[in-house]
């Protein structure tokens, strides 16, 4: 269970470049809910995720994760509650460390780290099993530096990393946007599987209307720092991509011509 209450974020406050990225966003996500977030560039999607993760500190409003007010905590202090996968495959893992070391790092996310070997027998076994489940043969290359893998492989491993330790919310920030279609499909499938298997609570930002309707249980649309659409259940099930584009156009009040939004 996470709740965001009247969250406001202003960038460059008090300067000519002042921009209100979030204008009082309120949102409650129940445990196990999978929300897709869409919106045009600058709508505040990434800012919302950044604020929940702790990269961006809000100007007003509250963020409560698992009953704990984390509004003022830096990212590293709330990592035990928040798991993330970034858009850039290079951002979510360390290229210089091996696959096994990256996963070991994630297995201890948010926990107190001591002097025990990072790859003790039990953890090494868990890591091996989880990587083998991907079915892409990486379990035999656990000692290889992460930097030698492809973007798709790194994103798949980043998803595994995000689910090695418990979390109250998983933030996926356009995590398939930098991949080719085949790899994007693979990573999306994996996302679906893992979310189901671990009953994850997910907030996924996407630029694809199709994904926003097909994946998960709830669709949110942000526009200029506000939530302009929030649909679940039957209402959402009856929604088509065309409907969504129409709603989107209404919200923006202009043509979509030069937007990078993808239909399909």
């Amino acid at each position: 269970m996470i709740s965001v209450e009247s969250l406001a974020v202003v960038f460059n406050k008090g300067t000519p470049l002042e921009r209100r990225a979030l204008r009082g966003v309120s949102l409650a996500v129940a445990s196990g809910e999978f929300c897709c977030v869409i919106g045009s560039n600058g709508a505040g999607k990434s800012t919302l995720l950044g604020a929940i993760a702790g990269d961006v500190l809000p100007d007003s409003g509250r963020i409560v994760l698992a009953g704990r007010d984390v509004s003022r905590l830096p990212a590293e202090a709330r990592a035990g509650l928040v798991a993330r996968v970034f858009q850039d495959p290079l951002a979510g893992s360390c290229g210089a460390l091996t696959i096994a070391e990256n996963l070991a790092l994630a297995a201890a996310r948010g926990q107190r780290r001591g002097l025990a070997p990072a790859l003790g027998r039990a953890r090494a076994e868990t890591i091996r099993t989880r990587v083998a489940e991907l079915g892409i043969g990486l379990e035999d290359r656990l000692g290889v530096p992460m930097g030698s893998l492809s973007g798709g492989q790194r994103q798949a491993l980043s998803l595994v990393m995000a689910t090695l330790a418990p979390s109250s919310i998983v933030l996926l920030d356009e995590h398939t946007a930098a991949l080719d279609p085949a790899n994007a499909e693979f990573v999306l499938d994996l996302t679906r599987q893992l979310a189901e298997r671990f009953s994850l609570t997910v907030l996924m930002v996407t630029h694809s209307m199709r994904q926003a309707l097909d994946l998960g249980t709830r669709t949110l649309m942000l526009h200029e720092g506000e939530i302009v659409l929030d649909m679940t259940g039957a209402e959402r099930a009856s929604l088509t991509v065309e409907d969504l584009v129409e709603r989107f156009r209404t919200a923006r009040g202009q043509e979509l011509a030069e937007d990078r939004l993808l239909v399909g």
Binding site: C94, L97, R113, P117
Partner: protein, 293 residues
Amino acid sequence: MSSFAFFGAVELGLVYAFVAIGVYLSFRVLDFPDLTVDGSFPLGAGCAAVAIVAGWNPWLATALAMAAGALAGFATAFVSVRFRILHLLASILTMIALFSINLRIMGRPNVALLNQETVLSPFYGRGLADHLVRPLFLLVLVALAVALVAAFLKSDLGLAMRATGANPRMARAQGVRTGLHVMAGVALSNALVALAGALFAQTNGFADVTSGLGTIVVGLAAVIVGETLLPRRSIALAIAACVAGSVLYRLAVQLALNLDVLGLQASDLNLATALLVLLTLILPRFRKGASAA
């Protein structure tokens, strides 16, 4: 090269192996170029020498030197992390400050340790020549340091430190307090450099306030020579390569000084080292350029 000169070079290489491991931690693991070492080497030498002259147990004096080095490293990292001052600049400030502090600690530019009890005293006169006892003793200590640092870097804490240097944003997302890790890592690095200083004073019989000049370049040379000769396979091997690099570097220097044709003097050492490091930094670019063409 006489065997005396050979073992002398090995001995010096093993003393500076601690510097190499320290520089590896700051430059390679934390990606924190740290010039504090030019001050923490004489700091370690001075602290140990003064404490030994004052009648301290030499092991305790050596531990004191390490603590002082750790404090110096912590000061640099704290200023850099807390006040967001460029790491190089922060470390130069500490280095300059340490020159005055070292003079205060030692009371004069040079402290002699003649006929004083050192960590090596118990091992002298037991059938092995002194010039062999020293490198052997140092080898044991270096091996211990390599094993301990390697084990640390493979622990949860050490992995967090490596992630801090490699990808700080990812490290924070995993709950790593990167600022603390930088401070701890640079402190550990300088503790090792101060240990080298303390051992240098005890094997050579004196501490000199100017002995730190160029420590960083010698440490870097050792790290780079080691990396070039032993491309890294594992973290333990990478650290062992620093040790090998340090010894080989000293042997190369000794060899060059012995070749009269070159006409080199001991005072040319810093120039030669700077050129060597520059060369090894430039070479990989040419290799890359060649393979790309």
